[in-house]
Amino acid sequence: MTLDARERQRRASTGGASRRPPAPLLVPALVGVAFLVVPLLGLLVRAPWGDAWRILRESQASEALRLSLWTSSVATVIALVVGVPLAWLLARSSFPGLRLVRALVTLPLVLPPVVGGVALLLAFGRNGFLGRWLDEWFGLTIPFSPVAVVMAETFVAMPFLVVTVEGALRAANQGYEQAAATLGAGRMTVFRRVTLPMVAPSLAAGAVLCWARALGEFGATITFAGSFPGRTQTMPIAVYYALETDPDAAILLSLVLLLVSVAILVALRDRWLRGGTV
């Protein structure tokens, strides 16, 4: 065995032992990487690069993409407006049934999205127990509209934001809030000027996570909002239908979504790719 100069330097400065991984760890790890990367390579290899622009234009991709972008953005804004106060309530207050509420709020994380779609339909559908009144009193029909897309996405994605922000609020040092109180800040001022800025990084991470989840939403959306091109057909749904009729278009649409996802990862690189904690 020999030790080259660089490795000597590394061990001397960081004090670490050998970093050469043992085979029983290395082999499964490489299998894991391959499993995650190979399908994406498949997308790149099979993509009809020559006709890409024409196919994308004909496939109404831009319509689907635009719909996906604005609905997921609106869903994220709603999640922020409702979810941040909810996270605060879960992290900082105590009331009977708190644990039950927390369980219910996080339920959509583990619930199959299609079940969420069915539930939304039963509540807000034309014959749903709320939808019926909306229809009778205001003439509002929610299902199979862009509003339904936003609702389905919010339903599925908001828990990501709530869980992330709640964790940050729990971890935040409440000593700062005490200090703010002794300086004359009321509870709302403390929240606005001290609590929120201190959890801002987690808030941003939660919002991006929520947005990404909303962008990729399929099951709840197709169940509650259907698949009307230009109205409720979001990118994932467009990919799914294109796969049956025009596989080349499906591949290109998938690549567009892949591109967006990579952009998100790049945006979050400081938080996750450097091995830190959320």
């Binding site: 000593g175 002794t182 004359g184 000027r193």
Partner: protein
């Protein structure tokens, strides 16, 4: 009865711990609250600041009731005219030094520009003007401490609370900051409550001392009084004295732990404390002959510790005792652990006072 300043009788229960302490501080007075860890010092400050509600008693500041357990009156922390300097400073990490100091005037209703002007004034007074744009994590310990003080004062409080304000500083910085803090406390017009476990800090900064042990006030008085006549073992150790409890008779004191001191004309009767400076005790390797020292007793060395310029002997005997002698004396007498020696103390060095 009308009175300016702080008048608090604080009763707080937390699990099995009970804090029951009365403190008063006049305007301009610095009251040090001294006590070991877990004695309830910080809880006392928390109660006065409104962070911990009272279970009993009341807190008044300049005749305004801040908390009264019997009537239920309670002023929220945000509405108390109190400045709090925390042990760990708690400077807001997301705000610049200037905005940290401007925080209190701002949330108390001043415009942003006014609040910043107030803050800039304080930073100027504290010699921190160059740092106003800096974030707290880039400050040294001493700078952070000054900013924390400035932030507390910028809200123009009527009462200042300081929780171990110097304990996070290294020894050298501590002396500088301590001197500055003394100046600022002297300029502050309201009462100040300073919590500390460092007796030197209390002696230097405070006008008056309250010693808290196990949630109760065990001694109260001027720093000089407390240092000369400690009321408990804890205080005696803090100020570096041997302390003995005993019963006084006409010409001496019978000690509770065994042994007797001869002290003519001490003027006390009954239960007393006797304080003895470690440096006032003489050590001999042989039984001493007749001398002016009225008290001589045998003891065994159980430990030797080198302090900066002297050696502290830990001696078992009747009574047991801490004695400070020079390293040269240790060498000359050939002292070592387990050795039997004779101690003597002059009656004039024994401070006898009622318990």
């Amino acid at each position: 009865m009308s009175s300016r300043g702080l008048d608090a009788r604080v009763e707080v229960r937390r699990g099995g711990f009970v804090l029951d302490a009365a403190v008063r501080a006049a305007p301009g007075e610095v009251l040090a609250v001294l006590g070991p860890n877990g004695s309830g010092k910080s809880t006392l400050l928390g109660a006065v600041a409104g962070l911990v509600p009272l279970a009993g008693g009341s807190i008044r500041l300049d005749d305004v009731v801040l908390d009264d357990a019997s009537t239920g009156a309670f002023v929220e922390a945000a509405h108390r005219p109190v400045g709090f300097v925390f042990q760990d400073y708690r400077l807001f990490p997301h705000l610049s030094v200037l905005d940290n100091v401007a925080f209190s005037p701002r949330v108390r209703g001043r415009s942003r520009a006014e609040a910043r002007a107030v803050a800039a004034g304080w930073l100027e007074r504290l010699g921190l003007a160059d740092l106003s744009r800096r974030r707290p994590h880039l400050l040294s310990g001493g700078q952070a401490q000054r900013v924390a003080l400035g932030r507390a004062l910028a809200g123009s409080p009527d009462l200042l609370l300081l929780d171990e304000p110097l304990s996070a500083l290294d020894a050298r910085t501590r002396l500088d900051v301590q001197a500055e803090l003394r100046t600022h406390l002297a300029e502050f017009g309201g009462p100040s409550l300073l919590v500390t476990h460092d007796p030197l800090e209390a002696l230097v900064l405070a006008d008056r001392l309250v010693v808290l042990e196990g949630g109760r006030v065990v001694q109260e008085g001027s720093p000089a009084e407390v240092a000369r006549r400690p009321a408990t073992e804890y205080v005696a150790r803090l100020v570096g004295l041997n302390l003995y409890a005993g019963t006084a008779d006409a010409d001496g004191v019978a000690l509770e732990g065994g042994g007797r001191f001869v002290v003519p004309d001490h003027g006390e009767r009954g239960e007393v404390l006797v304080a003895l400076r470690p440096s006032a005790v003489t050590v001999s390797a042989q039984p001493p002959g007749p001398s002016s020292a009225r008290n001589t007793w045998a003891a065994t060395i159980s430990g030797l510790t080198l302090l900066t310029d002297r050696v502290r002997l830990d001696l078992d005997g009747e009574p047991s005792c801490l004695v400070d002698i020079t390293p040269a004396a240790v060498a000359d007498l050939g002292l070592s652990a387990g050795q039997r020696v004779w101690l003597s103390a002059k009656a004039v060095d024994l401070e006898v006072y009622a318990r």
